[in-house]
């Protein structure tokens, strides 16, 4: 076991180093272009620059939760119940929660500047907030005591239940808002014509954030593997110690 631990003690590989270096370059370009090169928006002014962080992080958060659901379903369906699926689901959810927090913070800052309010009870915003809380709960379930298999089974089922829950929450919030008031939120998907450089910066942001996401998930699931191995090793050495005590007696 100790050999396995030593062999896998580094979480970086050539592939992750390439991904990491590329993401640094792309993100540097996004920072320079987003803050200095791209023009102000006619209506939104400087606040439009928040978009270069907000939109990619929202995209990554949703992508991460889809990955978690797919990995959890794969764990449940696969006969071998490979722990790789479980670790991938957990790593993806952790990174997703972080990006969801960035989405909510940048979104409310943008909302304050554009709508004059930090928060609007818009269906999309409300569903996003519920998704955030749901996955914080998912991460709490992963931290419950028990074996690695128990953790995998519980969290896979909770991830599947979240897939059931989110459409229900979204539908109920849409129905709630539609019956009570009209859309109060400026629709950013209306006639938005975007400068070419702005669009390219936004696209670069999406690519950069996706690379960061992949890099983080790969490293995180490897550190999770190390934690599991270290726990097993602790258990193994404890068993050996008890056996030694037994034979000494």
């Amino acid at each position: 076991m100790s050999q396995v631990l030593q062999r896998t003690s580094a979480t970086g590989t050539r592939a992750t180093r390439v991904i990491g270096a590329t993401s640094i370059l792309v993100m540097a370009w996004v920072v320079v272009s987003g803050l200095l090169l791209t023009p102000q928006d006619v209506v939104q002014g400087e606040s439009v620059r928040i978009m270069y962080v907000h939109v990619p992080s929202a995209w990554i958060a949703y992508l991460a939760f889809i990955f978690t659901a797919v990995a959890s379903a794969s764990w449940l369906i696969s006969k071998k119940h490979s722990m790789g699926f479980d670790r991938f689901a957990g790593a993806s959810a952790e990174v997703g929660v972080m990006f969801m927090a960035i989405t909510l913070v940048t979104g409310s800052l943008w909302g304050r500047l554009t709508w004059g309010e930090f928060w609007q009870w818009d269906p999309r915003l409300t569903t996003t907030a519920f998704l955030f809380v749901t996955y914080i709960g998912y991460l709490a379930v992963r931290r419950l005591e028990g074996s690695v298999e128990q953790r995998a089974r519980r969290s896979a089922v909770v991830a599947m239940l979240a897939v059931l829950e989110i459409p229900l929450v979204h539908f109920s919030v849409v129905l709630w808002r539609s019956l009570h008031q009209g859309a109060t939120v400026l629709n950013p998907n209306g006639d938005v014509k975007m400068d070419d450089l702005m669009l390219f910066t936004l696209f670069s942001g999406v690519v950069g954030f996706t690379l960061v996401f992949i890099w983080l998930v790969l490293h995180r699931q490897r550190t999770m593997l190390l934690v599991d191995l270290a726990n097993n090793q602790g258990l193994d050495s404890a068993i050996v110690a008890r056996r030694a005590e037994g034979s000494a007696n």
Binding site: F130, V133, T134, I136, G137, A140, V141, L144, E145, G146, Q150, R153, R154, V157, V158, M160, L161, L164, E165, L168, V169, F171, S172, V173, L175, W176, L179
Partner: protein
């Protein structure tokens, strides 16, 4: 499904055995009647203190009833599963070779019955304390709403209660997991109850749209819960 001795146990028998066991525990301990009900009543009174306006109270009565129900749900679920895990009763059920989906339904029906008793008292409390009006048409809508919403709450409560049963920190984990899930029930049941009360000029007919959502919720988590419950409490 066969049990340890190899004999087949009908699902219906398991459901009724678990249901009667949970109800008998309540009958003997009287936790819902002596602790949860007074707690929910106190919450209603506290809301009145906090809002301090008769018109506002009448307008928000529906939401307060369902919020008090949700708070009580956590207490009842935790209590029910704490008893089951304390003496390893849940483990015994698991190794008895009986259908765990039937255990799920038995516990969910018992929880639903307790919740319905609680909601009846809360609704009476709202009529008395918050001065809401209830017409005959409104009453039909309200009874349907209570039945549909309570089924959904009971299924979800039992499912997540099973998940957190025996875990450290379950008192805080259960609300964190349950509240986002029951948000659709809170929204739909509140709107339907508002329509039944006629709060804020709402028409009774407006409430029936929400009953559909409550039914879908109950069906989804009834099916999902019966499939998932076994693997959640399985070691």
């Amino acid at each position: 499904m066969k049990n340890i001795s190899g004999t087949k146990v009908a699902k219906g028998k398991v459901v009724s055995a678990v249901l009667l066991k949970d109800l008998r525990i309540e009958l003997r301990s009287r936790v819902v009647t002596n602790q949860v009900l007074p707690f929910a009543g106190l919450v209603m009174v506290m809301f009145a203190f906090a809002l301090d306006n008769d018109d506002v109270l009448e307008r928000v009565a529906a939401g307060l009833i369902w919020l008090a129900t949700l708070f009580s749900l956590f207490m009842i679920v935790q209590r029910s599963f704490a008893i089951d895990t304390a003496d390893g009763a849940l483990d015994s059920l698991r190794v008895a070779g009986i259908d765990l989906a039937a255990v799920f339904f038995g516990k969910a029906i018992a929880l639903a019955l307790k919740l319905i008793a609680l909601e009846v008292v809360l609704i009476c409390g709202a009529v008395l304390l918050y001065r809401v009006d209830l017409s005959a048409n409104g009453l039909v809508l309200l009874v349907t709403c209570v039945l549909c919403a309570t089924s959904g709450l009971a299924f979800v409560g039992t499912l997540y209660g099973g998940l957190t049963a025996g875990a450290k920190g379950r008192e805080t984990l259960l609300p964190l997991l349950l509240l986002p899930v029951v948000a659709p029930v809170l929204i739909a049941a509140t709107r339907a109850t508002e329509a039944a009360f006629g709060s804020g000029g709402a028409q009774t007919s407006e409430g029936w749209a929400w009953i559909g959502l409550l039914t879908v919720f109950a069906a989804v988590f009834g099916v999902g819960g019966s499939l998932a419950f076994g693997s959640l409490i399985d070691e």
